[in-house]
């Protein structure tokens, strides 16, 4: 698992991903175990990530999983059930909650954003 900073750099330096997300302007919550992070996205770029410290701050929707589950998702070749967030959802390895409309409207973008923390083959 890379640092959050390195992950954000992977996202923002991926021109195709940013282009696909150019209509997205929102903040979503990404949970790793007990820790929540607020990802603020403007026109497909992540402009800030903030550790959520108060429950009165939340994102439009939330995606949460245990650290161990995300670590498997981010392996170069993830094992079955961990290879895609919808596969993880089917196995109840993650939880998705909140207003899911913008998430579904941009589903592949959010899948790619999350999986871009995958360990590089290089």
């Amino acid at each position: 698992m890379q640092s959050i900073e390195k992950w954000i750099n992977e996202i923002n330096s991926n021109d195709r991903l940013v282009e696909k997300g150019r209509w997205i302007n929102l903040t979503f919550t990404f949970g790793i175990g007990q820790n929540d992070y607020l990802f603020e996205i403007i026109e497909g770029k992540v402009i800030s990530t903030t550790k959520r410290t108060v429950l009165t701050r939340s994102g439009t929707f939330k995606i949460q999983g245990e650290r161990n589950a995300w670590e498997k998702h981010w392996l170069i070749t993830p094992p079955r059930d961990y290879h895609d967030i919808f596969a993880m959802l089917a196995k109840k390895l993650i939880i998705i909650d909140g207003n899911l409309t913008p998430f579904m409207q941009n589903l592949q973008y959010f899948k790619d954003l999350i999986s871009s923390n995958r360990q590089s083959k290089n």
Binding site: R80, T101, L107
Partner: protein
């Protein structure tokens, strides 16, 4: 300008008209090869292009006449007249009638039928009800029952692009090892589906087509049943396939490592090593 000969693929495509339950359907069908008819049924929300590698595989077409048609509402097959008046919803009865009507119109004798996903479900129904007609059935990513894990309404609503969400949903069912070019070709078919068609197909696959209460009645001595499923299929999981096989006495099930829900289109080369032995066994 340099002249060069045209290198056509072996596949021939054409149309036929069939009637089912007082409706006329214009059906697009592709075929290649000669020998035992091998009728191929595509997955929910896609079309017969998924089988292009089978249709172009000379190792298969030297012994099999491979046939893949687009279900009505899919690919180049039209919906029936008046389709605009109601939402599409595939039922078990309609699905079976379309397939049997196609077989009748196409004058197929002793065909092998191979379906993937919802096609893998319906071939089990056919193995029970038409065991004297089909030489064998091959269920790819087939099971007699599934448990839904998402809300189908997301697939058909005006504020979400149907093609994009269909592709994004099923991308979870492709193995990470599958070559990118075939992954994206498989997804492209989903991006081209008509509005609400994938959702309508899943009515059969997730609800109407449950078959676990009757699958044990299949007589594999009359109609052999083969089940092939991918390790990475999170829809028809290996466990669901094996559970189905355990209910069908004599069924032969194999789990393919490193492949997902679309074995014939997402990784055709890997799929060859699993489908060849089955087709060879049927030939004998």
């Amino acid at each position: 300008m340099k002249k060069s000969s045209i290198e056509f693929e072996d596949i021939i495509g054409r149309y036929l008209n069939i009637s089912v339950a007082d409706e006329n359907y214009r059906i697009y069908v592709e075929e290649a090869g000669k020998g035992i008819p091998l009728l191929c049924l595509h997955t929910a929300g896609s079309d017969g292009r998924q089988f292009r590698h089978i249709l172009n595989d000379k190792e298969i077409t030297k012994n099999y006449r491979v046939i893949a048609f687009d279900l009505p509402w899919h690919g180049k097959s039209n919906p029936p007249e008046g389709y605009e008046l109601k939402d599409y919803k595939l039922t078990t009865s309609l699905y079976k009638q379309i397939i049997m009507s196609f077989c009748d119109n196409y004058k197929l004798r002793d065909p092998v039928i191979m379906g993937c996903s919802m096609g893998g479900r319906v071939v089990l129904h056919l193995a029970l009800e038409h065991s004297n007609y089909f030489k064998a059935v091959i269920a790819l990513e087939g099971s007699d029952k599934l448990e839904p894990y998402y809300d189908l309404d997301w697939l058909y609503r005006p504020d979400i692009h149907g093609g994009l969400i269909q592709a994004a949903f099923v991308s979870s069912q492709i193995a990470p090892q599958s070559p990118d070019k075939f992954r994206h070709e498989t997804l492209w078919h989903y991006m081209q589906g008509g509005p609400g068609i994938f959702k309508g197909d899943l009515h059969f696959y997730w609800h109407d087509g449950d078959f676990d209460d009757r699958s044990a009645l299949i007589d594999t001595s009359k109609c052999p049943v083969y089940l092939l499923s991918g390790e990475y299929d999170c829809s028809c999981t290996p466990e669901r396939t094996l559970a189905t096989a355990s209910r069908i006495k004599g069924a032969k099930a194999t789990i393919i490592p490193g492949i997902g829900h679309f074995p014939m289109s997402e990784n055709p080369e890997l799929f060859q090593s699993y489908i060849y032995p089955i087709l060879d066994e049927i030939l004998k």
